[in-house]
Amino acid sequence: MKEVPGVTRLRQTAMLLFVTGSMMLAQTPPAKRAAIPRAADGHPSLEGIWTNATLTPLQRPANLAAKPYFTAEEAAAFEKQVLIQNDTDNQPRKAGDPGNYNSAFWDRGNHVEKSLRTSLVIDPPDGRIPPFTAEAQAKAQAFREYAAQHPADGPEDRDLSERCLMFSGIGPPMLTEPYNNNYQIVQSPGYVSVLAEMNHDVRVIPTDGKVTAPNDVSQWHGVSHGHWDGDTLVVETTNIKFNNQSHFGVAYRGMSDENLRVTERFTRTDAETIIYQAMVDDPTVYTKPWTIEEAFTRTKGPLFEYACHEGNYAMPGILQGARLAEQGANSK
């Protein structure tokens, strides 16, 4: 892995903080530990149907810069504000702007995280994803310039989710989607499997040192290895394919490349909750690692198939629209 000079120490510090912070979470008091459902092998059971629907933003909004936590009253006000904002029918639109999906499409629940944090990003402490490296900034700029000239030459120019190929819900890192934020976890000796409703993707994670793919194989969801650290399932994922066709990494909808490493920690804290943490470390893209924390809350099943390509009328619509726009431009 290519290391960027000067950030190695930062990276090591972040890793140390991630591990120690998570250890505090894993050291559940004995009285409470008894209440955690356990599998036959004694490890905590992560089985069940879960949702990570949340109104808490990934990054802390600028107007909350000095505020890592809401009060209960502030949280209620924020929830109301976000729900109103999401209902784009009520938002003023510029002429020529068709707007975006409204609340009939969203399904991110009605509440912020129970922790009352103001962002899912818990590290860096400012709740913001760290800046890109100079190299990544240049790549991003080049992509912006390309995209402005080639918005839809073919389906390859469009977002992977528009093409019904990949969504960020399954991760890693697992991040809240606009809707279908439902997951089913099945646990068996030596494996934990996660099924995501958002595009019926499954990650089968070995927990006993089994190797699922050779080291030189890259996959869209990477190659994951799990192990139990006390009562916490730790999953390390590397070999995440850099999807050059779509000009950015597939695992996280921002940007990542082939050097991405994600460390996830699943800690069942009570009958209703798994606390999920994920540290994103990509030294050629981000100037330092960053960590998110989200609660997965037990929810009703079943999960339904989301066969996204079934009626993806939007893709031909987008491509045909682009062709007509070109003809219009040529005839002027």
Binding site: Q59, Q85, G96, D97, N102, A104, F132, R298, A307, L324
Partner: protein, 138 residues
């Protein structure tokens, strides 16, 4: 043609600032903001398909000519969890759609705002996911 920053998500500073702005597809890429349409018609079909459901309506113009339009609606899983069933929107219902026509000029429109003729919204959003976490938090 500009893509929504929320869809490209290139600059980390742009990501999910206050409210999520990206969803499955970019409205700006598919629909023409300069072609607003207001359609009132009779439902002929509702397709419970992925990624989003579509309602087909017959719209009659002043001369009595009937044109079939397709209107994009929410994802079937989301509608189902909000309590909608295949009996909620049935052939023969009258609906009103305020939206924008597709860029390719076909008779398709986004269904951001779908109401019954009396003004009631057909799809009420944000009714929760049914998760325990959706109960009021104290």
């Amino acid at each position: 043609m500009q893509r929504l920053p929320g869809i490209i998500l290139i600059g980390a500073g742009l990501l999910w600032v206050a409210a999520p702005v990206s969803a499955h597809h970019a409205f700006t890429a598919e629909f023409d903001g300069n072609k607003p349409v207001k359609l009132q018609g009779t439902v002929t079909k509702m397709e419970w398909i992925n990624p989003h459901s579509w309602i087909t309506i017959d719209v009659k113009d002043a001369d009595g000519k009937v044109t079939s339009w397709m209107v994009e609606c929410g994802s079937p899983n989301v509608l189902l969890r909000r309590g909608m069933t295949k009996n909620s929107v049935t052939p023969g219902m009258e609906i009103v759609v305020d939206g924008y026509r597709s860029k390719d000029g076909s008779n398709r429109a986004n269904g951001r705002d779908v109401t019954l003729p009396d003004g009631r919204k057909l799809f009420l959003g944000s009714s929760g996911t049914g998760a325990p976490g959706d109960a009021p938090q104290k």
